[in-house]
Amino acid sequence: MNDDLDPRLTARFERELAAVPAYRVAALDIRPRSRWRRFAVFGTAAVVALVLIAGTVAREVLAPRSSAGTIAVAGRDLPELVRMSEVIVVGTVLSKGGTRVTSRDPNDLSREDPNYVGIAQDYAFAVESSIKGDVSGTITVSISSVSRVKREPFWYEFKSDNIPPRVGSRYALFLRRFAFDASVYVLDFEPSQFELGTMAVVRSRWLDAKTYFPDRPVADFLKALRDAAASP
């Protein structure tokens, strides 16, 4: 049956294993620790399962309520939007830049908040004309993209409701200055973006935006904007 075995190797195995200390026969019995070991294995598995379940429940219970999905509307017509905004510019999105942390520690505004991180995406925006506010050249518009909230022991991440602008497109933007960096602008309350193609089209997650701000010719839209900015 074992004809395929090499006899030289068999002999060598026998010779070398003969030098191994002999097996010391121990009293053979079923030791009770076998049962305890099994108990320990199942116990550990049960504890791990409980910890995982408790962790999942705790995560849900501790989860902060997000403001994502809540839209802050500045106005339902152009005059109201113009009145509520600090800066209104018309121009083109040149490029997508880096990201920046927009949150600060409430107790020390020079530092970042250890429990909350707001991250915004920068865009370079070439200002063609300024409807409100004295802005010219290329400005940085920072648009909130993600926020992370810490609730020990977890971090929760929320996506922003802002619609990222399309690079190369022409827009009318309703902005305000970023509180911690005067050279940077952030989007104001909704609706804050109007894409100027063949028509002026509102871009907002606010479901009623199209109802209150229907598409209209660009020239007509810009005239209405300027008229609203000129009126007291």
């Binding site: 074992n2 190797l9 068999t10 195995f13 070398e16 294993l17 191994v20 053979l28 076998s34």
Partner: protein, 165 residues
């Protein structure tokens, strides 16, 4: 009416008498040594496998092969556990190679992958056939044959002139 049964009677009812298991243990112990276990590790693993056989509720088809597989698993588990508790020692420990003055079969065997070692030891030390080795290790008979051929070739190369002796 209830009768008190002694341990051997219980074992026989279950499938094995203590003596039937004990007769296999020296060979299993030597197989573990050949696999690379230290003497104390081999004794513990062999004892553990014997206790499992004694506690088995059904008759095992091929007791020696079963003991070999269970004991080798026990040994590998205990070695892994020991490594977990001594991670740095394990990481820094140099892999012992064969002695420069004397090339031994067991030393060269320890340098083979564990699967090749298991197959060779099952065949040469436990005396199992290719079919029995395949059944015990849960692999195909062709794999056993190929693994054995590869391992033997490697050993022949590494042992060099001493292979003939």
């Amino acid at each position: 009416m209830w009768y008190a049964l002694d341990r051997d009677t219980v074992s026989m009812i279950r499938g094995y008498a203590t003596a039937e298991i004990e007769v296999e243990l020296p060979r299993v112990y030597r197989a573990l040594i050949a696999l690379g276990a230290r003497v104390d590790e081999a004794e513990d693993a062999t004892q553990d496998a014997a206790e499992r056989a004694l506690g088995s509720k059904s008759r095992i088809k091929r007791l020696d092969a079963w003991l070999y597989v269970v004991a080798s698993r026990r040994w590998r588990q205990s070695r892994l556990r020991a490594r977990l508790f001594r991670p740095l020692e394990w990481a820094h420990a140099a892999v012992p190679g064969p002695g420069t003055d004397r090339v031994t079969l067991l030393g060269e065997l320890a340098r083979l992958p564990i699967r090749q070692r298991e197959v060779l030891v099952a065949r040469y030390v436990m005396g199992l056939s290719q079919r029995e080795t395949a059944d015990a290790l849960g692999i195909a008979q062709g794999t056993v044959s190929a693994t054995q051929a590869q391992a033997t070739k490697k050993l022949r190369e590494r042992l060099g002139d001493t292979y003939e002796r």
